[in-house]
Amino acid sequence: MDRLQLRWLLFLLLLLGVSVGLTTAKGIVVIPLKDIGSIFFSQLPWLSSHVDPRMEAIVLHIRLPRVLVAALVGGGLGLSGAVMQALFRNGLADPGILGVSSGGALGAVIALSFGFASEHIFFLPGMAFLGSLAAVSLVYLLASQRGAMPLSVLLLSGLAVSALLSALTSLLLSLTRNLFLLRETLFWLMGGLEGRGWEHLRIIAIPVCVASLLLLAFSRELNILISSGEESARTLGIHTKRLTQILLVLTSLITGAVVSVSGVIGFVGLVVPHVMRLILGPDHRVLLQGSFIGGAIFLVWSDYFTRTLFPLEEVRLGIVTSFVGVPFFLYLLHRERRSLGW
């Protein structure tokens, strides 16, 4: 990695900070800029603010935690996507391919059908997370063979388990009498961050941050994996099965935690690593950090547009990311075809 890449990383970090600031300052309720400044400065212990406590509550307790959750969710998905793409040596890999998203969705539907998700704030994310864990464990069990965990088997198991869990989820939904449950579930499945506050931030912060930092330690191994393949990696002394297991555990932890709080948000894990590769190059020693930060910026702004563009409509977060993701995906496909000479 060179100086330029590092400068880019620092610039992206700065961009993230600015994005968080801007999207917290602006929203549906118009709060004048000088009040925002007051609120910000009054956080320092020796200053006090003279701002309407309601405005302070909106900025500090409604918007700020939501923006921070968006950053962690986007970052987690971006980073997991980059790791998955390296692990599977496939640019189409996405954090959800091993059943994490479908497991989370099933857990969420079960939680929502109990009807008291609003009384106990951790019930819904808790059940969703359990669902994700169960799904990944199942995939892992199915794919484990003596001495090796072939990637192709892993992928197929992931596909099969995802399909099975999606079918179960659809079955549960079709049997329900409660039309409101259908609507609530559908909205959850399309992703969204309304009402996500400090509690949600706290429950995902440690798993996402710790697991992400741990993943950074494997950047060298990922570089080798992706450039030389599994065989060469093994001859270089890398314990590929162990590596695969560790990477899977860490990315599943991140993705499971993230999905439990935001629902299923597609395309972030797929698109962000590719964009960051264009800017930073394929070296994972900078790409991993870049994918996190890039994913965070992407989702912070996507959520901002969700809240402000059509305030009275239910434009779900997953829809916005798809609208950006699909054209980009098609562009990638187009480039692939060009380079193959089609």
Binding site: M1, R3, A57, L124, F180, G195, R202
Partner: protein
């Protein structure tokens, strides 16, 4: 010096500081709502059915916002009155909190996180319950009346509704027979036992085909079932261009020509907002249906 190590160290430090900060920042923690002296004066209704009830229960000045759906004449029974309410909302904590309400009324099916967040900020949130029957609707009106301090008005609203239903009952009680009715909405759903539509059909002295087939709740019915069961009356919700198309479709579908309702041209459309509402406006649906099912008992009445 700018190197990979320093950048990573910086990131590590930032993450550590971030985690420290978010676990030590003071949370609002469930703030007890300020004790309201007397009934709520700044009510936000974020749900169409409570919009309809509240517009009949409280003085307009006390209702500062209604749901954005209340303006849609195909869904809402109060589209005109809703125009006079200053704000329109959906269940969004920032939007609602910014209006400084002292009571927010939401429907079942609103985002649990949004409700939690409003409560954590000290806003009283009243969540309406499921409506599966006419009795449920009446209870819900009384509960809502209590929540906004208008018990007397709520009781009056309910007794008016009950009186109208009784009048319908007296008329149709004289019916010779109760026709078999199929309620069909777009998507092929029908309402069986334990739905408001079921109660409405029975109140109008009809037999609900979906209930007699043992269906609970809203379920899809296949066209084949339609043909085999031969309803005498088909009731469609008329809401939009799509539903008018459904109406034409049913009348002209070759497979349905043998169905009694189609042969005798007893396929009726009633505005959906009278049939699937969960407010006192449901009584309108019962009255209209009764006229359609038993025209002979209502002949001589002025057209409503």
């Amino acid at each position: 010096m700018l190197s990979g190590k320093t950048v990573n160290l910086l990131l590590f430090l930032l993450v550590f500081l971030f985690l420290f900060w978010i676990f030590t920042v003071p949370l609002p923690s469930h703030v007890r709502p300020a004790q309201i002296i007397g009934p709520p004066q700044r009510i936000v209704s974020a749900n169409l059915r409570s919009d309809e009830v509240l517009l009949s229960l409280v003085n307009r000045e006390r209702l500062i916002a209604v749901s954005h759906l209340s303006l849609d004449p195909s869904l809402s029974n109060v589209a005109e009155e809703a125009k006079k309410i200053p704000h329109k909302v959906k269940v969004d904590p920032e939007m609602i909190y910014g209006l400084k309400p002292d009571l927010v009324v939401v429907g079942e099916g609103s985002s649990p996180d949004a409700i939690n967040q409003l409560r954590a900020l000290g806003i009283a949130v009243f969540k309406t319950t499921r409506f599966d029957s006419l009795a449920d609707i009446q209870k819900a009106i009384l509960d809502l009346g209590k929540a906004v301090g208008e018990e007397k008005n709520a009781e009056a609203l309910v007794s008016t509704a009950q009186r109208r239903l009784r009048r319908v009952g007296e008329r149709v009680g004289r019916a010779q027979r109760r026709p078999l009715v199929l309620y069909y909405s777009t998507g092929g759903y029908s309402g069986g036992r334990g739905t408001v539509v079921d109660d409405v059909i029975r109140a109008a002295s009809g037999r609900n085909l979906a209930a007699e087939k043992g269906i609970n709740g809203y379920k899809k019915l296949s066209l084949e079932a339609l043909v085999m069961d031969g309803p005498e009356v088909i009731l469609l919700g008329e809401r939009s261009e799509r539903e008018k198309l459904l109406y034409q479709e049913v009348l002209s579908h070759s497979g349905l020509k043998q169905v009694k309702a189609v042969r005798e041209k007893r396929v009726y459309a009633i505005p959906s907002r009278y049939l699937v509402t969960s407010s006192h406006y449901i009584v309108e649906g019962a009255e209209r249906l009764a006229r359609l099912l038993h025209p002979a008992l209502f002949s001589g009445d002025p057209e409503s």
